[in-house]
């Protein structure tokens, strides 16, 4: 990638930023079956993802955000991609897939694009909870970060949601990195990311 802003002017990104798809419009009367919210305004970005579902297939979606340009562009792209997918397939979409469809995002923008993906999963979790399957996809799409102790990115996310804010807090909850320590760098990056997205303070 070139300079910090050149990504914005790829035709794909520009189109999604200029004309974001599936943005919620109150006049439309869109009635979601499930929805999920993530991020918080204090950190400068928040995302709400709404789903219309039939037999676990995503029929239509709407979203809203208080977020930056890459959050807008990537969520717009995500909202197009998930239509027609089963909730399981949608749950397994990786932020990287979306970034790639946008022609790549600079490193400092990846975290903004993760927001849409997290909100989508929160919405699917909401649907699962409403249909008596709470937590059913807990390990869907999870990626093992610590191979010694079998700790996944989802486990790190859960630990942060339960209050872990630093490496010690994360270790106290997951034991991550206490064997060979080889996972520390990647785990810390994820920890930082998730604290930004999920921590209230």
């Amino acid at each position: 990638m070139g300079d910090a802003f050149s990504w914005l002017y790829s035709d794909v990104v520009k189109d999604h930023f200029m004309n974001p798809k599936n943005v919620f419009n109150p006049d439309e009367g869109f009635e979601p079956d499930a929805q999920g919210m993530t991020g918080n305004v204090k950190c400068g970005d928040q995302m709400l993802f709404m789903l219309k579902l039939k037999d676990d297939v995503i029929e239509d979606v709407r979203w809203k955000t208080y977020g930056c340009a890459s959050a807008i562009a990537s969520t717009s792209m995500l909202s197009e991609v998930v239509k027609g997918l089963t909730i399981k397939d949608a749950y397994n979409i990786k932020p990287d897939d979306i970034a790639q469809r946008l022609g790549g995002l600079p490193d400092n923008k990846i975290h903004c694009s993760v927001l849409g993906d997290k909100a989508l999963r929160a919405a699917i979790d909401d649907h699962l909870a409403k249909t008596g399957r709470e937590g059913a996809f807990r390990n869907e799409g999870a990626r093992i970060i610590c191979t010694c102790l079998n700790v996944s990115d989802r486990d790190i996310e859960d630990a942060v949601k339960q209050g872990a804010r630093d490496w010690e807090g994360l270790q106290a909850r997951t034991k991550i990195g206490t064997v060979c320590g080889g996972c520390k760098k990647e785990a810390e990056e994820l920890l930082h990311e998730y604290v930004h997205i999920f921590a209230e303070e």
Partner: protein, 389 residues
């Protein structure tokens, strides 16, 4: 992208004044080392000294141009002062450093460096308008205070401090007084003596001169520890072969800034207020940041609740309008503007802030164009926002 470009980011940097550019191009052949004794060297040195006088005149000390030390810019000038304090504090009894929470990062980080070296550092609070808490200043000053460093005008919100009053308090306590006047010179009258400044920082690229040149005013007798050691240039205060062309560009920029100041300030302030009034009228719930009166004539900082700053900036950019934002996303860090947070606006308003900084070339049409382009952008972002405006 729009073919129309409206540059409203003059606090970030300015284009060369045509007359500065002309002077620099005209004298480009003056290549000789200004320290050389031969004729060409003397000629180059002559230009450097003329520029020094012009810069001195800009801050009201034209009779003593030797008080001006040329540097590579505002960051270097500020760091030179803090490095000097490091050496003084290690030897002498005074070690306390007092600065404000809203300084430019080059002062904040220099102060934090001293803190990490064991110096007691106070970051003074500001009120909702960005004005220094004077009672906290008074309470913080003491026999241990080594330096008071307060910016004359803030780069983000434009708030101007009561410099003469702050200087008098600092001097009465026996401390050295430094002001980062980078954003003030050329925009408001600046007089180092009136402020009782021992040190004053300037940067040339903020006043229509070239980048990479600045100056440090050094009151006669004030100590200085060079940041860059080497030859005896600048009375040994700052080594390195003279940047002839940059320095003479600075001289010309300083002359023009002094000459044009009253007219510039009057014109730009009227345009700035027109922009403020137009946007406040066209967009609901705009917050005007910074001081309502004691503010740089060219600076307008607004917050748009419910809309995120980087998104606003980039929609404006696509419309050809160039501004800056206090949003975290744009800065690449996760924290929004430290200046706005210090004024107590809260992270949400800081993330949704936009700085318009006007300049010499700003026209009525530019202002009208923004008043036409921005309201639909805010409306649209608010419509898609999870946050109530």
């Amino acid at each position: 992208m729009s073919s129309r470009r409206v540059y409203m980011d003059y606090n970030a940097t300015t284009p060369l004044h045509p007359s500065v550019q002309e002077a620099m191009v005209r004298d480009l052949e003056i290549f000789a080392n200004a320290s050389s004794m031969h004729e060409d060297g003397r000629k180059a040195r002559g230009r450097v000294e003329e520029a020094r006088k012009a810069v001195a005149e800009l801050i009201g000390c034209g009779d003593n141009p030797e008080q001006i030390v040329f540097t590579s810019g505002g960051s270097e000038s500020n760091n030179t002062v803090f490095a000097t304090m490091f050496h003084l504090g290690r030897k002498g009894p005074r070690r306390g450093i007092i600065t404000s929470a809203i300084e430019h990062p080059c002062v904040l980080n220099a102060a934090k460096w001293l803190e990490s070296e064991g110096f007691p550092v106070t970051f003074l609070k500001v009120d909702e308008y960005g004005k220094l808490d004077m009672s906290q200043l008074k309470a913080s000053l003491g026999p241990d205070t080594l330096l008071v460093s307060i910016m004359a005008a803030n780069n983000e919100i434009g708030t101007i401090q009561d410099m003469a009053e702050i200087g008098a308090l600092a001097k009465a306590s026996g401390a050295y007084f430094h002001s980062d006047a980078t954003q003030a010179v050329g925009k408001i009258p600046v007089c180092a003596d009136d402020w009782k400044a021992d040190y004053l920082t300037m940067s040339c690229h903020k006043l229509y001169g070239p980048k990479g040149v600045g100056a440090l005013y050094l009151r006669k007798g004030a100590p200085l520890e060079p940041l860059i050691r080497g030859g005896h240039q600048e009375h040994g205060h700052r080594a390195g072969t003279y940047n002839n062309i940059g320095i003479l560009g600075f001289g010309q920029a300083a002359r023009l800034a002094k000459e044009e100041l009253p007219e510039y300030a009057r014109r730009v302030f009227a345009l700035r207020n027109k922009l403020r009034d137009g946007l406040v009228a066209a967009i609901p719930k705009v917050r005007v940041n910074g001081h309502p009166v004691n503010v740089l004539p060219n600076t307008l900082n607004l917050s748009f609740p419910g809309a995120e700053g980087e998104a606003i900036l980039l929609y404006l950019d696509l419309a050809g309008i160039e501004v800056s934002t206090g949003s975290a996303c744009a800065s690449g860090s996760l924290e929004p503007s430290h200046v706005l947070l210090a004024t107590g606006v809260g992270p949400e308003l800081a993330h949704g802030s936009i700085r318009f900084s006007l300049g010499r070339a700003t026209s009525e049409e530019d202002v009208d164009y923004i008043i036409e382009q921005l309201p639909p952008i805010i409306k649209r972002l608010r419509a898609m926002s999870t946050v109530e405006a």
